[in-house]
């Protein structure tokens, strides 16, 4: 078969199915929202926090299913609740923050496991943990689109304040902003973003979606605006590639999306002109020893 035809078929054949179209929509939207937030997560060093929030939503998802509520509602309550709990325990005990995070998110996750073993079999643990993007319902899509729009709108208004907070919270404080409030805002955005991504890749792999695009972009640029753009591009490409690959090979969709992101990260890690290990070596050989600029 002609290579071009094969390529067209790779995309065209799956798109004839409505469930693939919906999966693509969810994967791309979730990818974009996560990618945008991942830039701050990378710079703040919050990957453990991302992992914690995503695991902690499990009891919320299970309870929502139990009572027939939208999954996002329960997930949000438990996501935001566990962030608040981590903050409270961290402030009121001598235990270090990463240990507090470790305690809270595993406890929440365990609660979810216990609850799910009591729930009628409608909710499939596998779908919650590993995602079920090929089976999303219309209500799921509505919830995802609403929450995604919410996150992107807040970021649109507040991205410069959030970046200032990430870079220099003392200066933010000195000019009369409230760093505590900005931190809370960023954590809140993380909780909502995690809920958006749940359907796409499942609880276990959400943390990849909120870290890898930002980490990849960080290797490729020294400008924050470009970092946002590159992270988004990486996430969209990975979502598209992941959904189609998983259709053709009949493998896990969430796994395919995250593997595609990890592939992008590996390429950047090796080949980035300024910050990649191979690219850096080449640049150094090509240019003369760096002379410090006139001081």
């Amino acid at each position: 078969m002609d290579a071009l035809t094969a390529l067209v078929d790779f995309f065209a054949v799956p798109l004839q199915f409505a469930f693939v179209q919906r999966a693509l929509l969810v994967a791309v939207v979730a990818g974009v929202v996560c990618a945008v937030l991942s830039c701050w997560m990378t710079l703040m060093g919050w990957s453990l926090m991302g992992d914690a929030v995503s695991h902690a939503v499990l009891p919320g998802v299970v309870l929502s299913a139990m009572f027939g509520l939208p999954f996002a509602l329960g997930a949000l309550v438990f996501g935001a609740g566990s962030v608040a709990l981590i903050g409270a325990v961290n402030r009121t005990s001598r235990v270090k923050e990463d240990a507090v995070i470790g305690v809270v998110f595993t406890a929440m996750f365990a609660l979810g496991l216990v609850l799910i073993s009591r729930v009628p079999s409608q909710t499939d643990l596998g779908h919650i943990l590993f995602g079920n993007v090929l089976g999303v319902t219309d209500t799921d899509i509505v919830q995802i689109l609403v929450l995604a729009a919410l996150v992107l709108t807040v970021v649109w208004f507040k991205h410069r304040d959030l970046t200032l907070y990430a870079f220099d919270r003392v200066h933010a404080h000195a000019i009369g902003l409230n760093p505590r409030l900005l931190e809370t805002l960023l954590l809140g955005l993380l909780a909502v973003t995690v809920v958006v991504a749940l359907q796409a890749v499942g609880i276990i792999l959400v943390v990849a979606m909120v870290i890898i695009p930002g980490a990849t972009a960080y290797l490729l640029t020294d400008r924050f605006e470009r970092m946002l753009a590159i992270a988004t591009a990486v996430a969209v490409a990975a979502a598209v590639l992941g959904v189609f690959t998983s259709f053709h090979l009949n493998v896990s969709t969430g796994g395919s999306i995250v593997l595609a992101q990890a592939g992008a990260f590996t390429l950047a890690y090796l080949l980035s002109p300024r910050h990649g290990i191979l690219g850096r070596r080449r640049t150094r050989r090509r240019t003369h020893p760096a002379t410090p600029a006139h001081t």
């Binding site: 710079l43 649109w156 208004f157 507040k158 410069r160 304040d161 970046t163 200032l164 990430a166 870079f167 220099d168 003392v170 200066h171 404080h173 000195a174 000019i175 009369g176 902003l177 960080y218 640029t221 020294d222 400008r223 924050f224 470009r226 970092m227 410090p292 600029a293 001081t295």
Partner: protein, 254 residues
């Protein structure tokens, strides 16, 4: 001094005492800096200089004592954009993906609306600040791609762009080459002539006589205050900088 001085002190601290847990960091510190002066804050590492700055900024709440900036509480002063802070190099993430120009623009955020979209006046202020600190040609570099002195100047440029009345400079001469040092000193003098008030912390005493109008010698408490001549006396410096006698070691409250 040749600047119009109103009665209100630019910086006024009365009886500030700060503990970190059980460790006494500041002990009944009084500080009074009139408007339009440069005051040197001298002391060893760990003498409480940074704690005093944090107290002025409202990052540390004193156990007792009072802080006023231009007669206002630190919260009101910060909201009114009266305070600028130039951090120590160790406090900055130099790998952060921002350009020099972006950092200086952050000084303007207090002048901007919700989304912090720069307007022409903001861009002008940034260009002007970059020009005064000699960083115009380096404005598009990533902040970490500067030398030690250039980095200091970039954060000074941010304070200039902010146009705050009171500037707090934490060790502005640490790790700075001669060229940057003289640029910074010239700038600080110009700022004073324009009526700004500057509190400059340093453990390097060489610049103090030429730069400062006042000096305060700190060793958790105020050891001496006055003109540089009155403060830079051997016996006082011995007390603040000299070998630690037992009662000058860390104070542990039971």
């Amino acid at each position: 001094m040749n600047t119009p001085t109103q009665d209100t002190a630019a910086i006024e601290v009365t009886g500030a005492t700060v503990h970190y847990g059980d460790v006494l960091a500041l002990d009944h510190v009084d500080l009074d800096v009139p408007q339009g002066l440069i005051c040197g804050l001298l002391g060893t590492n760990g003498s409480g200089k940074s704690t005093l700055f944090k107290t002025l900024l409202g990052l540390v709440r004193p156990d007792h004592g009072r802080v006023r900036i231009m007669g206002r509480t630190h919260t009101a002063a910060r909201r009114a954009g009266l305070l600028a802070y130039v951090p120590q190099s160790e406090q900055v993430d130099w790998a952060f993906p921002v350009r020099v120009r972006d950092v200086v623009m952050m000084g303007r955020y207090g002048h901007m609306r919700t989304r912090r979209r720069p307007r022409p006046a903001d861009r002008q202020a940034v260009d002007h600040a970059l020009h005064r600190t000699g960083l115009t040609d380096l404005a598009d570099r990533q902040i970490g791609a500067l030398s030690g002195g250039q980095r200091k100047r970039a954060f000074l440029a941010r304070a200039l762009a902010q146009q705050a009345h009171v500037l707090l400079l934490d060790e502005p001469f640490a790790g700075v080459d001669k060229h940057s040092e003289s640029t910074i000193i010239d700038l600080l003098r110009t700022l004073r002539e324009q009526g700004h008030t500057l509190l400059v912390s340093t453990h390097d005493l060489a610049q103090v006589p030429a730069l400062c109008d006042r000096a305060v010698l700190l060793q958790r408490r105020v050891v001496a205050r006055g003109t540089p001549d009155q403060v830079l006396r051997p016996e006082l410096l011995m007390e603040a900088f000299g070998v630690h006698t037992p009662e000058e070691g860390p104070v542990w409250m039971p």
